[in-house]
């Protein structure tokens, strides 16, 4: 038992005024839907308006900084000729190949790494090291080995997503509570059944999250790859437009890149929310 040595200290602590808990800037306090929609609209409208104003103010040279309307016009013109669709499709197809391949290989490896400490010991040092080599640093090597054509681009996209997706998948798998695995064994499950019926379903939302993050990275890498060398794709279209000083076209392509990226993200988010309804 504790021994009380002296009298308790006198009750004389200074009091502070209460914190601001609620209101528009209360931490983690919901804002009314009307306010929320207004803020969301502003977040798009203000930069657009600023763009428009700037394009008028900076307009020393006629097409130095085209405004949003000119960009959209250029975009419509490019879409009419069918060129935009062809470019967008070849870029998307490259991502589907390179990133798709990375997912196909990294998910099983990640499951292996996350489930078996032996697999982790075997793979983590290598994968953990290689992921810090930026994929863009491989571009010269890839060009030497695979040439300027499609294989080098697919390989770059593979490298850009593979290491991170492996490690993030392993992390998602390691978040499966041990008690869930133990209890499954006591219900008669074998090792393979624990993997298929417990670990994979539990980790699936986390794995889709990882795919979502790395899909964004792939999407920016494909454009980098196309800027360097290609005969088609959105990145290639930017380089072409640059050559002919068609700045409005560059902006149009940028908008398309952003919109496709947003769509990919949205689709993956919807998938994740459907798969992870139980979370």
């Amino acid at each position: 038992m504790t021994v009380v040595a002296e009298k308790a200290p006198p009750r004389s602590l200074p009091r502070r005024r209460p914190p601001r808990v609620r209101g528009l800037w209360g931490i983690r306090t919901a804002v009314p839907p009307g306010v929320r929609w207004t803020l969301m609209a502003l977040s798009v409208a203000v930069p657009l308006a600023a763009w428009q104003v700037l394009s008028v103010v900076v307009d020393g040279r006629p097409d130095y900084l085209p405004g949003p309307f000119e960009a959209v016009e250029a975009g419509i013109e490019m879409a009419r000729s069918g060129q935009l669709l062809t470019d967008a499709w070849s870029t998307v197809a490259r991502v589907l190949q390179g990133f798709g391949l990375a997912v196909l290989v990294s998910v099983p490896l990640g499951i292996l790494m996350g489930s078996f400490p032996a697999g982790q010991a075997l793979l983590e040092p290598l994968v953990g090291l290689l992921r810090y080599l930026p994929a863009s640093a491989f571009i010269p090597l890839l060009i030497i080995w695979l040439g300027l054509g499609e294989p080098s681009k697919v390989a770059l996209l593979f490298l850009a997503a593979f290491f991170f997706n492996t490690l993030m998948t392993a992390d998602a798998v390691r978040r499966v509570p041990l008690s869930l695995i133990d209890v499954s064994y006591t219900l008669g499950a074998r090792r393979g059944e624990v993997l298929r019926k417990v670990i994979v379903p539990y980790a699936l939302p986390g794995m889709i999250d990882s795919i979502r993050v790395n899909a964004a990275a792939s999407w920016s890498f494909v454009v980098v790859a196309e800027l360097i060398a290609s005969e088609s794709g959105l990145g290639y279209r930017i380089v072409r437009a640059q050559r002919f000083n068609q700045i409005d076209r560059i902006f149009a392509v940028l908008v398309v890149i952003a919109l496709i990226g947003l769509t990919i993200d949205l689709l993956l988010r919807i998938t994740r929310d459907r798969v992870g309804r139980w979370v």
Partner: protein, 259 residues
């Protein structure tokens, strides 16, 4: 018959080995309800993991019906304090998990699942996901899921430890009824002496460091127990006796701890 024969478990940790259990002898006849009480850290969870076969003993062995336990299996169902239900499966499919692994006709499986759902009062929630359930309901799912595999022994690791007092009492009545209806052997560990005396036909007291059997006492209370049994003089006397034992071993353990 479940037998633990000079069972011991030593963990190696930084700073040397830790004896979690040493020389534990215990036999539980078929159909008995045994409660093991001990302070936190006395090796209760380790004991159940050994019986479940999730952990290998460093000494002695566990035998079920004469055969040594070498790994986990559905003949020894386990329920943890936090249920460990499958969050993506509905209540019904949680209970069906073990049966889905067996070559069983669909109709037969459904029939069995329905019986265990009814027995644990979950029929109305059979399509609910675990996140929609209260803590007590989740524990029922875990119990029904273990029982559906028809275990020879049901192992309960402080299954009601995280529940509020009222829910805990409901669950105590439920587990007694389920035990009587299914006739399965129950080995439950808890730090709650009142619960141990109310539920068990026999109370085993564990001493800490290393965990070992300090006392093995029969509970002389009627087989039919209402909550009011907790006020019977026999109950109170037994409870006081076990509490004193647990307290003594806990104090002795604390005095040995370096400051």
């Amino acid at each position: 018959m479940l037998e633990l024969a000079s069972l011991g478990k030593e963990f190696t940790r930084r700073g040397g080995p830790v004896k979690a259990l040493e020389g534990v002898d215990l036999s539980v006849p078929d159909g008995q309800f045994v409660c093991v009480v001990g302070a936190s850290g006395s090796g209760k969870s380790t004991l159940l993991s050994l019986v479940a076969g999730l952990v290998r003993p460093t000494a002695g062995e566990v035998r079920l019906d004469g055969r040594p336990v070498t790994g986990p299996g559905p003949d020894r169902g386990l329920v943890f304090q936090e249920g460990a239900v499958y969050p993506w499966r509905t209540v019904e499919r949680n209970v069906a998990f073990g049966l889905e692994l067996l070559p069983l006709p669909r109709a037969e499986r459904d029939r069995r699942v329905a019986w265990y759902l009814a027995e644990t009062g979950l029929t109305a929630y059979r399509h609910a996901l675990p996140k929609q359930l209260s803590g007590g309901q989740r524990q029922r799912v875990a119990i029904a899921r273990a029982l559906a595999c028809e275990p020879a022994v049901l192992l309960l690791d402080e299954p009601f430890g995280a529940l509020d007092v009222q829910t805990k009492e409901d669950m105590q009545l439920l587990i007694r009824r389920v035990w009587q209806d299914t006739g399965t052997t129950v080995l439950m560990v808890t730090h709650d002496v009142e619960e141990a005396v109310f539920l068990g036909q026999r109370v085993v007291v564990l001493a800490s460091d290393p965990g070992r059997v300090a006392a093995d006492l029969p509970v002389n209370l009627p087989a039919e127990r209402e909550l009011s049994a907790k006020r019977l003089p026999d109950f109170l006397a037994m409870r006081a006796r076990v509490e004193d034992l647990v307290r003594t071993y806990h104090r002795r353990h604390q005095e040995k701890q370096p400051i």
